[in-house]
Symmetry: C2
Subunit: 322 residues, 2 copies
């Protein structure tokens, strides 16, 4: 039997990444295009087809998985994505199937990340876990009994929009006090700026504008002993840990995985988050040793692997098991 | 084909209720015994057998469902229940099967209530919903894609122990600020006493001791325009609504059902809870019209029906479908 392959496409506000992966998670070939250059999704998909065929023949490809913001798994649509150039409802999966002549499954990027963890990462032998993707925002995929939770309307797992504080920070979703306004690349920048405003400690971060400040810069500052940076991570970890204690009593997961920029800060974020999760956790769960861990996928590979894992999970049938 | 029956047993700290129900939710016969009179679960089960056989012949019974505190569905055990006389691990389901010669399924009382709602109540055509049982404490059963969520260790759905306030009220679980310290029969009593301490308004509740105060009394006072009672419900509903907004973004349910003492307060609790859920809900979910509703089961019948629904869900096979 020839080795079967899957196409994974991750649609982002800036770049869309795509590649061809095998069942073991080796990415055979990959590339990217600029999402904003395509004013409609028809021309975007037509370009994808050309680009992918140039990368690698698609004869052995079983199907196509797509991770996208505001994706509806049930309908294969992308609905009013705030950061993509396509307004209204895009019947994306249907168009991909027409153009490529292959089956297509679409889900939101965080659900794809959760499937990627199960197919290729650290959750291969797990049936109950949560993945948090902490980038510009905070996405989440919840897996229960081996399946991603979609919910009644296909929108389950919006943990970035659980409430931290009723009168808290303004969120892009229109609410206030959402978790992602504290725990995300943007969230920790807001925390740094709050601390710089509140305290007089000298900090190397005082010379950097809000727009130029990155999680990496804050991590480097913390590593050098910068008090403001260290305190920003402690605060971020505390908020995350408190909400993790809620997530655990909800679905009783075996582990929680963190993926994306903030997770690269290592102990700066994992230590306070784990400590505070346990501090606020119902004692019944304490001896279960639920671990907050970095994802088993490399950040660079995760988007394509997450998307391609949809193929093995939903389209491959027995071929996906081998 | 003769009509098949199920035995339902609900084990409570004071009373244990049991009965025989048909597939439509008619309770053919029922009774109760005092849980505390049985120092071990062997004598408790032996008495149950005698009592149930006196109620009704068990020839047509398919199986036995048991709802109990601290129940482990996977193992059929009851583990260190704080309010039952049996310490350590009781291998309850195994003993029931031995004594009755019938299959037995055991789960916690709130999961049983969720199954009862699905088998007999308002959730017959739903696959994604949440049931909150608001009595002395706050229990919860979460149903996703037609199945109760048990989680990795069998303890999923402890929503009564999500965090309202880090430095909040002390909870019987050992933590502080748990939802059930605010939203439960005990929680609203605590709120009434807090309000009586903080304000000078006259109130008919000032003449009642903490021990004698009941949800019914507070409801009656609110109906008569008692300011303290009305404010206590508003506060309770606000806390509940805020946490409901978190529950919705977790699992995207079609509806949330309320069962138990507090739900009898009607609009006093449902109106502020629904309003605050929507106020704090991620806007994406607002047009989904997720309703907080009273359970479709009568409070008196719910424990036995919840327990017996386990039989139709897990033991009846095709007989359960008819």
């Amino acid at each position: 039997m020839t080795s079967k392959l899957a196409i994974g496409i991750d649609i982002g506000g800036t770049n869309s990444k795509f590649g061809i992966a095998d069942r073991k998670g080796n990415i055979i070939a990959q590339s990217r295009i600029k999402t904003q250059q395509y004013s409609d999704y028809f021309s975007f998909i037509a370009t994808l087809k050309k680009e992918i065929e140039q990368l690698h023949p698609i004869d052995d490809v079983i199907g196509i998985g797509v991770g996208a913001p505001n994706a509806n798994y049930y309908k294969g649509t992308i609905v009013n994505p705030p950061n993509l150039p396509w307004k209204g409802v895009s019947r994306f999966a249907e168009e991909v199937e027409k153009v490529f002549g292959l089956k297509c499954v679409l889900t939101n990027d965080a659900n794809a990340a959760a499937l990627g963890e199960m197919v290729y990462g650290k959750a291969k032998n797990m049936k109950d876990f949560v993945v948090l993707t902490v980038g510009t925002g905070l996405g989440s995929g919840i897996v229960i009994n081996g399946d991603v939770v979609y919910g009644k309307h296909g929108f389950a797992g919006e943990l970035g929009h659980t409430l931290v504080s009723a009168n808290g920070r303004h969120c892009a979703c229109g609410k206030r006090g959402c978790l992602e306004t504290y725990v995300s690349a943007t969230g920790i920048r807001r925390t740094v700026y709050k601390l710089l405003a509140d305290y007089t400690d000298p900090s190397m971060l005082r010379s950097i504008s809000f727009d130029d400040l990155s999680t990496r810069t804050i991590t480097e500052a913390a590593a050098k002993g910068d008090k403001i940076a260290i305190e920003a991570f402690k605060y971020t970890g505390r908020v995350l840990g408190m909400k993790l204690s809620d997530f655990v009593v909800h679905t009783d997961p075996e582990a929680i995985f963190l993926l994306g920029g903030l997770s690269k800060a290592g102990d700066h974020i994992f230590t306070p988050a784990q400590e505070n999760m346990e501090k606020y956790l119902m004692p019944l769960f304490l001896d279960k040793k639920i671990q907050l861990q970095p994802s088993g996928l490399k950040d660079d590979d995760a988007p394509i692997l997450g998307a391609s894992s949809l193929v093995w999970k939903y389209l491959a049938g027995s071929a996906g098991e081998s």
